[in-house]
Structure formats: structure tokens, C-alpha cells
Amino acid sequence: MRKAKTILASLLALSLAGSALAQPATPPFGGQGPQGPRPQGQAPQGPRQWNQDVDRSQNDLTLDMYFIPVGAQDSRPDSEGFIRRWSLLDPIDKPNRTNTVFTDSYIREAFAAEYFPGQMTLLPKDGQKVKLDKKTTLQWHNFDSRLYNVKLFRFASELDHQVYGVIFWAVTAIDVEEDLVDVRLSVGSNSASMWWIDGQEAVILSGDRRMVADDCASKRLTLTKGRHIIRGAVINGPGMSDFCVRIVDECGKPVRNYSVSTNYATK
């Protein structure tokens, strides 16, 4: 019986592959989704929504596999210097059926648009809501990532938000114990992103990006003793979305002598 199923599956796969070659007019969906090929004749009109396409009863994933609630104590960068504590905003709808459109100009324009008041200055409280328009209200969540990379895709999917064609906003505060001279903000993201420190642009990752630690770095920075705000925006069409951020020194080694907080009121 199992053998018969295998043969049937093989025949179906061959049939799909053959039809793809013979009928090239419908390009395949760009990006890595959790499913196999889109059924023939259903050309995508926009990014697939993971939570629309997947039977959630089959989902073994949970949010706490990726994130844990922020505790009372300030966080430190992890052993490799990655910052794991972030305030994350529910994803903003920004349809894109491909990630190849993310040129510098495109993402600068996309992130310059105002989606909610105080977009570049807000220091959110956990659970705080922001209104995008009359119909849309999004919420901030404070989390510690279990991984060096903050899995935005899972953040969105496990909170039942759309995962494709989105912009994520992230904020965190770092409290620097002594002046950090000639350091760089080093970022990897999937897909494109921009990052600001204290409101100043620090890094831009344009193009169809993959998760690569230390993919792009800022120019040399001096972070004086005290609090600094790191803010980021990640844009994604189809596929996985995540980011990782750390501060490195002149030799590319992680800098760790600072604390990380999402309690913006205390300092």
C-alpha cells in the first residue's frame, strides 16, 4: 500500500514537472514557501499567506520555540554579541510578490513612508498599539529571541499575522557602560532592511537578502556612555524573514560590554 502511494506521488511529481516545462507562461512563485509547487492554473496574484495555506492543526511550532517573554533583568548580548531583546511590531502589509525589487531607492522610499505616528521616534511599551488607519491597529511585543537571529516569520505566523509582503519594525535600547569607539553595527537580514542608531541611518541592506551574519556593517561609530536606541525595518515579499544584529569592533570581534533593554522608561 505504501509502495502504491509512493508510485502515485512520483507520477504526480513527474506530471507537475512535465507540465511546468511544457507550459512556461506561468512563472513559478519566487521564494521559499513551506509547501510544494503551486497547483497548476492558480497563478499567484500576490504573496502566499502561510497561515492561509497551511492546516494549522498540523502545525507543531509554537511561538515560545522562538521567543520568550522579556524578564525583569536587563539583557546582555549573547556570547557572540548578537542582540536578542527586541520590541517587535506586528507586520505591516506591504505587498511584494518578489524580493528582487528591493533596490536602495525602493527601500528608502518604503521606509520613509509613514505607516504610524512616531514611526522613527516611538519607544513602545509591551502591548502598546499603534493605529495605521481606520481599520488597522497593530501591537508591539517585547521578546527575547531564543536564536541569534530574530525569526520575524515565526513571530508573525505564530501570532496569526500575514508573513509575506510585509514590513517589520524593531526597536531596542542599549546601555553602553563606557564609550565604544570605532565600532560598527553589523547586520544580516532576510530580506532587505535599514537600521538607525539614535535616529541616524547606520546600515542599509538592499537587494534580495538572505540571513547572513555580518552581511552589512555601518561606518565606524562612537557610541558614548549611556543609552542608544537601535531601530530597524525589515521588508519581505515571499519567503523567510529574520534578522540578526550585533556590534563589532575594529577587528570584527563582537562587542559585549553593554546591556540591552526594552524598558525604555527606566533610563
Partner: protein, 486 residues
């Protein structure tokens, strides 16, 4: 008349070739020398001595003129700095292919090599080795090695007439260590040279025909040993006493007869080798000083190539991405069916490359950031690299300007120790680049000057996609680049 015009055209072409060819590939000035000693830097200038007395001086390692002074005449000296003095060793006889083989090796000291310095002045020569008329050795062509492990000073010498020998000298006096016996370490070489690296002692020698101009087949070979006194064996395990040797550098079509190896360590990870070519086809067949990158593979030395002008991808050794202008990527619009969905029976079509004219107007007019990205051979990734002869040079090379092909957009170092593309080239030192092959065959790229910075900095990858300037670290791929012509 027709013939005259043809001759004129040919002459002009030859002159142009001479200009281009020599400026790109040979030492400038009058680098005429035979049997050059190991290059030594003294008080900011470079020196090498040759057969017959005298030698060459260079203020920058690229432009060379005669002017070095070495008394004693004879053949094929070597030189080395020990402490605050320079020890020069030379054969005061000159050998003889068909004549007598009585040879004498001498050493002498001078504090400075600069004939205009008050510290210049050679001590009386001291005889450290000899060969008699009836020995299987001709005591000429000496070389020095100060063993970094033991501090012992070794001197090899000899020629095609029998054995290459090694003796020990006193590094304080330059005299032969009392009671030291010469040892045979190779056979039938000329211009031996001893060097040490990474636990290995190397004996380099010159084989082939000397002194026959454009027909000279001189070539430099090497064997290695764990002991300075040998046995030195080649890559096949063949002892140099039996004629073994692995090629380090040989002739090219326009340079005949490489001989008399010398090693110069610029800094850890950047090494140069000097030699002469018996004849340079672009310079009347004269014997000329040559300097090449010295590369190492599996603990064997070999000569690298001088950088050649051209249009290149500048590929980071860190990730393999290409240096590029940080401008919006312009897609080549093609129907997607041209990919793997294409009908296999459709006729083959040759696609045009994206041209500069198609994209340049979309680029910002002023300064443009530099980044490192996926290479596709697009106009913002194609760098034209041309020598700037008037900018001088460095040991074995000259400065280059690096520009996007077909434009004036010029790679430059900035005062905040970053890199940027300027809209035009003005010749400032921050727009001039030193390009040197390093010991593993990759390149380091160094601005002639970083505004307001006294440190030597090189082009580095501080992230996979982010270039900057930083200190050179020979062990880090962040500091290494490749030039791809594709």
C-alpha cells in the same frame, strides 16, 4: 612613400607598445644590473649591488638609477642588515668557465649604504672562504642567511664548477667562525641564495645558460631542508647535490634568463623577490633588475605575476562578492520563458550585455558609496585599472587608478577611513592604489594615502557586503582580493 609611412606607423606602434609595456611591467629608470644582491632598504631608499662594483638606488622601489657604491669589484655580491650595520659579501675574483677557478669570498661592513651619508664607509674586506685552482668548487656568488632560530650566520657560495658550499660566519665580525669546515650542499648551480620560512631552510640556485643575452636560459630553482646545512631536496625528494631543484622563475617571451634570487619581506604576508633578467626585449636586450611578488604554496616559493592593467571584477576573498558602486540594480528585462522554461527547440540567441549607457544616467551625479555584491558583470561592477606613471611606485610596482569602466568614477580613500567613488579623477594620493600580490596569490589593495591618517591601511571587507579601510592582516581573508577578468 608608402613604405616610409608604413615604417612610421610601425615605429609609432612600437613606441606606444614600449611605453605601455615598460610602464606596466618593468622597473622604471635605468635598472641595468647583472647578478643583483638581495635588495636592502636603508634610510628610506632601496639598494642592490651587482657584478663589477657599484649598484642601483631607488627612492621608491620602482624607479631605479645607478649610484650605489661597493668597493672590491668582483662578482655577484649579497647584502644584509645586521643590527645597525650592513654586511656585504662578494667574490673578489669572478670565476671562469674555461679558465682558473681560484675564488675568494670577502665580507665588509658599512653602517649606511647611502654614499652621501656620514655613516657610509666600508671596513676592510675579510676573506671568509676560498677555492683553489684544483678544487671542485669556484668560490664566487655568495649569499647570506642569518638564522632566525639560532642567530647563526651562514654563507653559501659556488658556481657551475662543482659544489655549492656553506660556511658559518660570525654575525658580530662577519669573519669565518674559527674551525668551521665548508660543507657541500648542492652541485652545479650559480647564484645560490639561502632563506628561511616556516620551519624550512631553502637553497635557491640558478641553472641554465648565463650571459648569453636574449638566448640565456638562466632560471632559478629551489630545494629545501630542515637544517641550514642540508640536505636540500626538491619536490621530488631529489637532493640538490644530485642536481635537484624546483622551478621558481624562468624566462618569458620578452624577458630571457632569470638569475640571482633575492628575497625581500615587505611585511608579514607580503614578500617580493628580486633577480635579473639577462635580456629585456623591450630595453635593447639589456640585463635588467626585476622584482616580482614572492608567493608560497605548500611551503614552496614561486614567483607571482606583476599586476597588469585591465578591466576586472574586484572580488573579495572573504565572500567572493564583487566590489561595486552602491547604485540601484537595473534589471535586464527578459521574458522569464528564456530561462529553464524555454522550448528546447527554439533557436539559440546571443544576448547583449547591459551597457553603461543603459544605466549611467540613473546613477547619482556626485559621490557614490561603495559596497560588495553579487557579481553579474554589470557596468557598476566593472573596474578599469590603469597605471599612473607620474605617481611613482613602491617596491616592484606602480600606482594605479581604479575607475568604473568608461567613466571617471574613481575609487578613493576618505578621511574617515572608508572608501567612496568620486565623480572625477584629480590625481590626489587618496585616489592612487598600490596593488600587490600577497604570499597566497591573492592581492592586497592599499591607497597611497588616507587623508589625515599616518597609518598604512588597506581595502578590507568589514562585512560580506561592506568594504572599508583597515590594517592589513595576512591571516584574514577580509584583507584579500582577487582580480577576475571575465
Amino acid at each position: 612613400m608608402k613604405n616610409n609611412r608604413y615604417t612610421l606607423l610601425l615605429g609609432a606602434a612600437a613606441f606606444l607598445f614600449l611605453l605601455v609595456g615598460t610602464s606596466a611591467l618593468a622597473q622604471e629608470g635605468k635598472p641595468w644590473i647583472h647578478d643583483p644582491s638581495t635588495i636592502v632598504k636603508c634610510d628610506g631608499k632601496y639598494y642592490t649591488f651587482g657584478t663589477g662594483g657599484g649598484g642601483l638606488i631607488s627612492p621608491d622601489g620602482w624607479n631605479w638609477e645607478s649610484g650605489a657604491v661597493r668597493p672590491g669589484g668582483g662578482a655577484a655580491p649579497d647584502a644584509m642588515k645586521i643590527g645597525d650595520r650592513h654586511l656585504v659579501v662578494y667574490g673578489s675574483t669572478g670565476g671562469g668557465l674555461g679558465g682558473g677557478h681560484r675564488g675568494i669570498i670577502n665580507t665588509m661592513w658599512t653602517k649606511s649604504l647611502d654614499p652621501n651619508s656620514p655613516d657610509f664607509g666600508f671596513s676592510d674586506p675579510v676573506v671568509v672562504a676560498e677555492s683553489k685552482f684544483d678544487e671542485d668548487c669556484d668560490a664566487i656568488d655568495p649569499s647570506l642567511l642569518l638564522d632566525p632560530n639560532t642567530g647563526r650566520l651562514w654563507c653559501s657560495y659556488g658556481t657551475y664548477f662543482g659544489f655549492i658550499r656553506i660556511v658559518e660566519l660570525d654575525p658580530k665580525t662577519g669573519a669565518r667562525v674559527e674551525g668551521n669546515e665548508a660543507k657541500d650542499i648542492a652541485i652545479d648551480c650559480e647564484a645560490s641564495s639561502l632563506i628561511y620560512r616556516n620551519g624550512w631552510y631553502y637553497l635557491l640556485g640558478t641553472h641554465g645558460t648565463c650571459c648569453d643575452g636574449v638566448n640565456s636560459t638562466y632560471n632559478i630553482i629551489v630545494g629545501r631542508s630542515r637544517n641550514p646545512q642540508g640536505p636540500y631536496v626538491d619536490n621530488l625528494g631529489r637532493d640538490m647535490i644530485k642536481g635537484g631543484g624546483r622551478m621558481v622563475i624562468a624566462s618569458t617571451s620578452r624577458l630571457s634568463g632569470a638569475g640571482h634570487f633575492g628575497r625581500y619581506i615587505e611585511t608579514e604576508g607580503v614578500e617580493k623577490m628580486s633577480c635579473h633578467f639577462e635580456a629585456d626585449f623591450d630595453r635593447s636586450g639589456r640585463s635588467v633588475l626585476a622584482i616580482r611578488p614572492l608567493l608560497w604554496k605548500n611551503d614552496w616559493p614561486y614567483a607571482g605575476e606583476l599586476f597588469k592593467e585591465g578591466v576586472y571584477e574586484i572580488e573579495s576573498e572573504r565572500r567572493g562578492y564583487g566590489l561595486e558602486l552602491a547604485v540601484d540594480f537595473t534589471r535586464i528585462e527578459r521574458p522569464r520563458r528564456g530561462g529553464w522554461w524555454a522550448n528546447p527547440d527554439e533557436p539559440i540567441e546571443v544576448l547583449p550585455l547591459q551597457t553603461l549607457d543603459e544605466v549611467k544616467d540613473k546613477w547619482p551625479a556626485g559621490e557614490v558609496e561603495i559596497r560588495i555584491g553579487d557579481y553579474l558583470g554589470r557596468p557598476h561592477q566593472r573596474w578599469s585599472i590603469k597605471a599612473v606613471p607620474e605617481a611613482g611606485g613602491y617596491l616592484g610596482g606602480q600606482y594605479y587608478k581604479i575607475q568604473i569602466e568608461g567613466t571617471e568614477r574613481t575609487l578613493a580613500a576618505t578621511a574617515d577611513r572608508e572608501v567612496i567613488a568620486l565623480p572625477t579623477y584629480t590625481g590626489e594620493a587618496c585616489q592612487l592604489w598600490r596593488i600587490e600580490q600577497i604570499v597566497d596569490g591573492t592581492y592586497r589593495i592599499m591607497p597611497k594615502e588616507v587623508p589625515g591618517c599616518s597609518e598604512e591601511l588597506v581595502l578590507v571587507s568589514v562585512a560580506d557586503s561592506t568594504p572599508s579601510l583597515g590594517k592589513f592582516d595576512p591571516d584574514s581573508d577580509n584583507c584579500k582580493w582577487n582580480f577576475r577578468n571575465h
